[in-house]
């Protein structure tokens, strides 16, 4: 007799607990990685010295590296990974399309334009992030506005508007690259477009964390209703859910976290597409489990990739390049692997 995939799998809550433990382990491990060696004993002494009076056996430099460099970077990697995956999972539900990703409504194209514009005007890191964030939100607002005027299917209207406005902003970015000074501005723009978490400081993490939390918490809380949304507007409505309102609410949340992520990390592709699919394999399509699984997996994944990006070579490899190198083959594996079709 054919065995059912659902029956033989673990209880999903157990999988979520395991994913949480894995994330914590990877976080702890990441503290040891880097040019500047810190031993486990020193690490734990530094952390525990906040609570217990421990005689200092470590250098001040170690403490600085730990708190001002590694901690913010690890936090940022986790947050960005978590946000992009959650946004991806939400957009897939909103558009009833397993191929939807966080940039489907032009959020990243807008952010790229905003960042390039700020770099061209000699903006500092803060100005670049802010400009990217604002343009990202602006792009999605324009897309949403246009789709409201579009005739026919609401969802098709949104996706088409996203493509139109996204490519318009991409063309704008190309123009900015053309007029940028090739000796310093152009490389800066190119580097930003490739994605990197190297700008992480306490203050950038703190700043990005606010919009991220504002978007992540509602997406998590409302996750059950996304299930109903995947059945289409009419069916959702007959079950008591206003699809239009719920979709707008989720778009706002998902855009907020995407914009916040892209504004501090540049363009990091693939995470929002691949991670929710991996999560679907593990816990099924019910958003009750899918949303937390995507969040945990996304954080773990991007942290590991960032560890590789800053430690593999002498110079840092832009993380966007790595996620593509890992994401593309992994996605091929996912769509060709035997097993439950989802």
């Amino acid at each position: 007799m054919e065995k059912d995939k659902y029956q033989k799998s673990f209880p999903y809550t157990l999988i979520l607990v395991i994913l949480g433990i894995v994330l914590i382990a990877v976080v702890v491990f990441s503290f040891f990685l880097g040019r500047f060696p810190i031993s486990p004993i020193e690490l734990f002494s530094i952390v525990l010295s906040n609570i217990f009076p421990i005689t200092q056996t470590w250098t001040d430099q170690m403490e600085t590296v730990l708190y001002n460099i590694r901690l913010p970077r690890i936090l940022l990697a986790c947050l960005v990974g978590c946000c992009l995956s959650a946004a991806g999972a939400s957009f897939q539900g909103i558009f009833q399309n397993p191929m939807a990703a966080p940039d489907i409504l032009g959020a990243t194209a807008g952010a790229a334009f905003g960042a390039a514009l700020a770099i061209l005007n000699d903006g500092n890191y803060l100005a670049i992030s802010l400009s990217a964030f604002v343009f990202s939100l602006l792009t999605v607002s324009i897309v949403y506005f246009i789709s409201g005027k579009a005739r026919g299917s609401k969802i098709l209207g949104l996706i088409l508007s996203g493509i139109i406005i996204g490519s318009l902003f991409s063309a704008g970015t190309s123009y900015l690259k053309l007029v940028a000074d090739p000796s310093d501005e152009l490389p800066a723009i190119t580097y930003w477009l490739m994605g990197s978490l190297s700008g992480a400081t306490k203050s950038t993490v703190g700043m990005a964390a606010i919009p991220m939390t504002l978007g992540l918490i509602p997406m998590f809380l409302i996750r059950w209703r996304i299930n109903v949304l995947t059945l289409g507007d009419q069916e959702a409505r007959t079950m008591g859910i206003s699809a239009t309102r719920l979709r707008l609410f989720l778009i706002v949340c998902a855009t907020l976290v995407t914009a916040a992520s892209v504004s501090v990390s540049g363009m990091i592709g693939w995470v929002g597409l691949v991670i929710p699919h991996l999560a679907r394999r593990l816990v099924g399509n019910n958003y009750k489990h899918l949303m937390p699984a995507s969040m945990l997996l996304g954080a773990t994944f991007l942290l590991i990739v960032d560890d590789v990006s800053r430690n593999l070579l002498q110079t840092e490899i832009p993380i966007g390049i790595l996620t593509a190198f890992i994401g593309a083959p992994f996605f091929v594996y996912l769509i060709t692997k035997k097993g439950e079709v989802y």
Binding site: D4, W224, V228, T230, L231, R237, G240
Partner: protein, 262 residues
Amino acid sequence: MTITVSDVSFSYGERIVLDHINVTASEGQLLSVVGPNGVGKSTLFYCMLGLLNTFKGQIKIDDKDIKRLGIKEMAKLVAYIPQSHYPSFNFSVFDMVLMGTTNQVRSISTPGKKQLMLVEEALDRMKISHLRARGYTQISGGERQLVLIARALVQQTKNLIFDEPTANLDFGNQILVLSQIKSLVNEGYTIIQSTHNPEHTFMFSDCVLAIHDGRVLASGAPSTIVTKELMQKLYSIDVEVESLYQDKVRVCIPAIVVKNGH
């Protein structure tokens, strides 16, 4: 538990889709709506479900004017069973049925024990408990239809609207689904269905509404609707209607077969 449609008209711009429709489905009745494709059956259903609010006239469900009701109140009053479909994501049968309870769950919450119990009951009742862990897209069309009925049951209303429940089903599954519908009717559910099969309409319905070009062509007991004259008018083809087993069954045969053999 009564659905009353009074003088309902609807038009998309210039095109009139529904023209002064009147019909009532009383408690414990199965009302079948028949008519060729594109005559406004679906539009009528969308009006009754509150999906289209711009119709003229009045629709009352359990004596409440549905134009005055919000989405949540509508979902408490009437449940919709679409044709068995393939959603974009493969949910387990259990999760699919559980979605019917969404209206009872606070928006920032997930279904609780009470909802899970409702799902168990509904699965039992449709005799599909063994499918609970299977993927919804991997079971047969008939089974999918039963899942959707179970989902409507957990919505906890006694008014159900079916969009062609037997479309795309094989012979055995058609009868399986129809007998489940019939047993719900016997328990006091009020059910409205659209259908393309005049023979099933005759066998299972309490009342039939025949729509043609957005107008009521005829309505009443199945024995007065499933007749040679009406079927010919309705579907614009030459039909012979034969009565069998002391008029327990009526068979519709295309006249071309009767005349020429095959």
